[in-house]
C-alpha cells in the first residue's frame, strides 16, 4: 500500500502549461520531497496527485491502479495544508474524527482512534477546544492528527511548516520525520526550503518551471548535481558558480565549488581576493570574498578564522569537489 506512479502527467491552466509531462515513481514507504523555487509547479504537482486539480494529460497510478480521474475522496490519500485548513466550527476531537465519520465508521471505533492519535500528538488535553483557541504548532498537530487517523495510503504535505516560527519549525520537522519512522507510510512533502528537503527526504525531486530537474537522495543531489540549476539550489550557502577565464582554465563554460570545499589561506592559493564581509556564526565563519576574474565568492572557514573587511586572502578550490558545466548548463562528468 502506498506506491504512486506518474506517467507523463501534465497540467494546463487555460493555454499555459504548468506541468510538462512529469514521470515519477514514488515507492511504498518512501519520504519524497518536492523542492523548487516558488512558481515551479511543486504544489500543483501535489494537488494533481491529491485530485484537487484535474490532470490534463498522462496517467497517475496509486498502488498500481489508475487513479487519474478519481475524485480526491476516493484516492485514499491524506493531506496537510499550509494553512492547516482545520474546520473552525468543530472541536479538535471532531476535526480529527471527521474523516472517520465520512468513512462511516461506528462511534466507539472513532473514539478509540481519535484518542490514540491525540495521545501520540500530545493533544489529549485540547480535544474539546476549537482550532481558534490553539497555537500554531498545536493546529499543525491537529491537521496531522486528522491525516493519520484514517491510515491513508500516503500523506501529502503542502509546505506544512511555513507558517510556523523558526524554532517550532525545527521541532515539527523532527516530529514529522519521527512520524514517518513510526508509521512507515509513503509521504510526499512539498517545500521551497532546501534545508527541509535535505534533512527529511529519502528522495528529493527538484523541480523548475514545471519540469523535474533531478531526482535522487539528498547526498546524490549534493555530490552529483546534474545541472547548474540543481547545483545552485541544493546546498546552503549556495554553491559558487564561476564563469570566464577561471572556468575556461578548467575546460568548462561554468565551474562550481561549494563554500565548504574552498581552502583559505593568507599566504598561498590559486585565487586572490579581498574580504568584503565576514559572517562569524561561532561554529563557522562565512567569508564573502571579491575574487579577481570571478566576482563575489562565498567560502566557509573555521569559527576562529579571524579576518576583517579589506584583508587579502587566497582561495584554493578542492579539485575533488569541483563541478564543471558545459554551455547548456549540464554537468561534465
Amino acid at each position: 500500500m502506498g506506491s504512486i506512479t506518474l506517467e507523463k502527467v501534465a497540467k494546463k491552466f487555460g493555454d499555459v502549461d504548468v506541468i510538462h509531462g512529469v514521470d515519477l515513481e514514488v515507492k511504498e514507504g518512501e519520504f519524497v520531497v518536492f523542492v523548487g523555487p516558488s512558481g515551479c509547479g511543486k504544489s500543483t504537482l501535489l494537488r494533481l496527485i491529491a485530485g484537487l486539480e484535474d490532470i490534463s494529460g498522462g496517467t497517475l497510478r496509486i498502488d498500481g491502479k489508475d487513479a487519474t480521474g478519481l475524485p480526491p475522496a476516493k484516492r485514499g490519500l491524506a493531506m496537510v495544508f499550509q494553512s492547516y485548513a482545520l474546520y473552525p466550527h468543530m472541536s479538535v476531537y471532531k476535526n480529527i474524527a471527521f474523516p472517520l465519520k465520512m468513512a462511516g465508521m461506528d462511534k466507539a471505533a472513532i473514539d478509540a482512534k481519535v484518542r490514540a492519535a491525540a495521545k501520540v500528538l500530545n493533544l489529549t488535553d485540547y480535544l474539546d477546544r476549537r482550532p481558534g483557541q490553539l497555537s500554531g504548532g498545536q493546529r499543525q498537530r491537529v491537521a496531522i492528527g486528522r491525516a493519520i487517523v484514517r491510515e491513508p495510503a500516503a500523506f501529502l504535505f503542502d509546505e506544512p511548516l511555513s507558517n510556523l516560527d523558526a524554532a517550532l519549525r525545527v521541532n515539527m520537522r523532527l516530529e514529522i520525520s519521527e512520524l514517518h519512522n513510526t508509521l512507515k507510510t509513503t509521504m510526499i512533502y512539498v517545500t521551497h526550503d532546501q534545508v527541509e528537503a535535505m534533512t527529511m527526504a529519502d528522495k528529493i525531486v527538484v523541480l523548475s518551471a514545471g519540469r523535474i530537474e533531478q531526482v535522487g537522495s539528498p547526498l546524490e543531489l549534493y555530490n552529483h548535481p546534474r545541472n547548474l540549476f540543481v547545483a545552485g539550489f541544493i546546498g546552503s550557502p549556495k554553491m559558487n558558480l564561476i564563469e570566464g577565464p577561471l572556468a575556461a582554465a578548467k575546460d568548462a563554460k561554468t565551474i562550481g565549488v561549494r563554500p565548504e570545499h574552498i581552502h583559505l589561506s593568507r599566504t598561498e592559493g590559486d585565487w586572490t581576493g579581498t574580504v568584503r564581509v565576514a559572517e562569524h556564526l561561532g561554529s563557522d565563519t562565512f567569508l564573502h570574498v571579491q575574487v579577481e576574474g570571478a566576482g563575489q565568492i562565498t567560502a566557509r572557514a573555521p569559527g576562529e578564522f579571524t579576518v576583517r573587511h579589506g584583508d587579502a586572502v587566497r582561495l584554493t578550490p578542492d579539485p575533488a569537489h569541483l563541478y564543471r558545466f558545459d554551455a547548456d548548463g549540464n554537468a561534465i562528468q
Binding site: P71, P72, A73, A78, A85, Y87, P88, P99, M102, R146
Partner: protein
C-alpha cells in the same frame, strides 16, 4: 482643545443619526398612533399627535370583519416557504460560483441580477395566463414558487458573497477527508456560513413578507396573505384610515418582532457580508 472638538463632533453626529432614525421610523409610529384613533380623529386637521381618546375599536372591528389568522398563516407559508425553497436551490448555485468559478461566473451573476431590473408588470400577463392554465391561481404553492423566483437572485448574490469569505482550502481538506459534495456542503460549508445563511434567510423573509405586487395579483381569497388583508381596507367605498392602520400594524407586527430580535444578523445581511 482636540478633545472638545471630538465631543462636539460626536454630539452633532449623534443628533443627526437620531434625526434620520426618527424620520425613517415616523411612518410606522404614525400608523401605530392612527390605529388607536377613531375614524373621525384620524382625518382631523390639525392632526392629533398623542392627546386623543385612545381606542381599541379598530382592532376589534378588523378582527370581527376578517379572519386575520388565515391571512397571517398564508404570509408565513409563502414568505418562509419561498425562502427555504430558494436556499435549497441557491446554496449549490452559490457554492459553484464561489468555489468553482469559470470565465462566465461574473456574467451569470450580473445576468441574474438583471432580472431584478425588469418591471414585474411586464411579465404579469404571461405569468397570469400560465397560472390560470396550470391551476395555480390563488394557491399557496403557486405563490411560493413565484416569490422564490423573485428573490432567488438576491439569495444567490448574498450567499455568494458570504461563501467567498470561506477559505477554499478548508473545503479541499474535507474532500481529502472523504467527504462527497453533499457532505461537504452539509457538514463543512453550511455550518461555517451559518451566520450568512441566517441573515440571508431573515432579509428575504422580510422582502417576501412585504411583497405586494404578485401576492395581490395572483391571489383572491384562499391563498391571500397579509398584504391582501391590508389592501382590503382601501376600497372604492372610501379609505378607512384608522382601520387601515390597525390592519397594517397587525400585518407588520410579526415581522417587526422577528426583525427586532435578529437585528445583529440583519445588519450583517444588509451589508452583504462586508462586515466580518
Amino acid at each position: 482643545m482636540a478633545r472638545a472638538t471630538t465631543t462636539r463632533h460626536r454630539v452633532v453626529v449623534t443628533a443627526a443619526a437620531w434625526t434620520v432614525g426618527f424620520l425613517l421610523f415616523f411612518p410606522i409610529l404614525w400608523t401605530f398612533l392612527t390605529s388607536f384613533k377613531s375614524e373621525a380623529t384620524a382625518v382631523q386637521i390639525p392632526p392629533a399627535f398623542l392627546f386623543f381618546d385612545w381606542t381599541w375599536e379598530n382592532y376589534v372591528e378588523v378582527n370581527v370583519r376578517s379572519d386575520y389568522f388565515r391571512f397571517a398563516m398564508n404570509s408565513v407559508v409563502i414568505a418562509v416557504g419561498s425562502v427555504l425553497l430558494g436556499l435549497l436551490i441557491a446554496i449549490p448555485a452559490a457554492w459553484s460560483m464561489a468555489f468553482a468559478p469559470t470565465k462566465h461566473t461574473k456574467d451569470i451573476l450580473m445576468w441574474m441580477l438583471s432580472t431584478k431590473m425588469l418591471p414585474p408588470v411586464g411579465v404579469l400577463v404571461p405569468l397570469y395566463l400560465l397560472f390560470r392554465d396550470w391551476g395555480l391561481l390563488d394557491t399557496r404553492t403557486g405563490l411560493v414558487v413565484v416569490m422564490m423566483l423573485i428573490n432567488l437572485p438576491i439569495i444567490v448574490w448574498m450567499l455568494y458573497t458570504y461563501f467567498k469569505e470561506i477559505p477554499g482550502e478548508i473545503l479541499e481538506a474535507s474532500r481529502m477527508d472523504g467527504a462527497t459534495l453533499g457532505k461537504e456542503i452539509v457538514f463543512v460549508l453550511a455550518p461555517m456560513a451559518a451566520p450568512g445563511i441566517a441573515s440571508t434567510l431573515l432579509l428575504n423573509v422580510i422582502l417576501a413578507w412585504n411583497e405586494a405586487f404578485w401576492t395581490l395579483n395572483l391571489t383572491a381569497a384562499k391563498a391571500a396573505p397579509l398584504t391582501a388583508f391590508i389592501a382590503s381596507y382601501s376600497s372604492p367605498e372610501g379609505l378607512f384610515w384608522a382601520k387601515l392602520s390597525a390592519a397594517s400594524m397587525m400585518a407588520i407586527a410579526p415581522i417587526l418582532v422577528l426583525g427586532w430580535f435578529s437585528q445583529k444578523q440583519l445588519v450583517r445581511g444588509l451589508t452583504f457580508g462586508a462586515v466580518k
